[in-house]
Symmetry: C2
Subunit: 201 residues, 2 copies
Amino acid sequence: MKNYRTFDPCNLLSPLPVVMVSCAEKEGASPNIITCAWAGTVNSDPPMVYVSVRRERYSHGLISASGEYVINLVDENLCKATDYCGVKSGRDVNKFDACALRPMPAKEMTCTPAIAGAPAYLSCKVKQVIPLGSHDMFLAQVVGVEVRDDLFGENGSLRLDKAGLIAYNHGVYQRTADVLGFFGYSVAREDVLKRRMEQYK
Amino acid sequence: MKNYRTFDPCNLLSPLPVVMVSCAEKEGASPNIITCAWAGTVNSDPPMVYVSVRRERYSHGLISASGEYVINLVDENLCKATDYCGVKSGRDVNKFDACALRPMPAKEMTCTPAIAGAPAYLSCKVKQVIPLGSHDMFLAQVVGVEVRDDLFGENGSLRLDKAGLIAYNHGVYQRTADVLGFFGYSVAREDVLKRRMEQYK
């Protein structure tokens, strides 16, 4: 029997995705980046995601104006920039310049670039804004996806587990490491289990 | 300049939390577990989370009836059970029994137990159900939290990074490993950075 300590109700759900969300007010406007860990997948068909942003944040106004944002996945190379874009405001600093990041055109977006070099990005069109208290949730449909070329295996399959993506865990950035199993592995036949697990080594 | 491959719009946001969500229809009813990776934190104040569940799933009815669920965080010990609870239905099998898991009373819940041994759990009261297509999103307020006793450091601070929590990454379960930084580390003074990073080794 394990013992437990009681906490005041708080946000302890972990690990969370930590992503760099790029946004821009309109065509020709300077783009910004905000880091979000309050982000996730909410629907399979159609593919839908959300990011929650405080109303007073600079990016809240940009996303509200354009109705779109780009979720850039984050690996170790981007970890420090991810932190920086979470603590600084786009009102005070051009984050692309400060982090030596380069914007690149994102699929299906009218004014929002992706971050060149990110492992993958998702172009998102806002469908609904849900006010929740401190944050507004921007529910969006995924309308475009690109993945870095080096993250595909020899047989052409996507190997996102090899990207070394970063998770957010109660105040720290943690690397994702070894693969413990695949969806369905608990009920897989012995030979399938062995063959599949071999490829994740 | 990195090259990219274009995907059809899809759910590629990663890493995602993969959690065991316990639920029950009413007091005295047999509890069930559903595994969700479509889960996340959506608001800081009040603390709010969501899980998205397909309408045809057995647990959808249970959560709808009771208006509550418990999010259990998952470590390596629970990884296989997590997968099992994601592929099997509570209509066909008692998942607590099948996985040799024991329910334990959860703070502030009327009928929903937590999973004994989980690193931590969050008791959640449903506030809003948002239909999105294949899934309904159960937006909920966190009303109770307990964390396993062994996850606290000598000074009493919570060390959730030591739990070895599991993330879901495009079809595989991945362990979270080394800490690359803490919130604010990109702008921290050299001595603070060194002292803080020392404790995560």
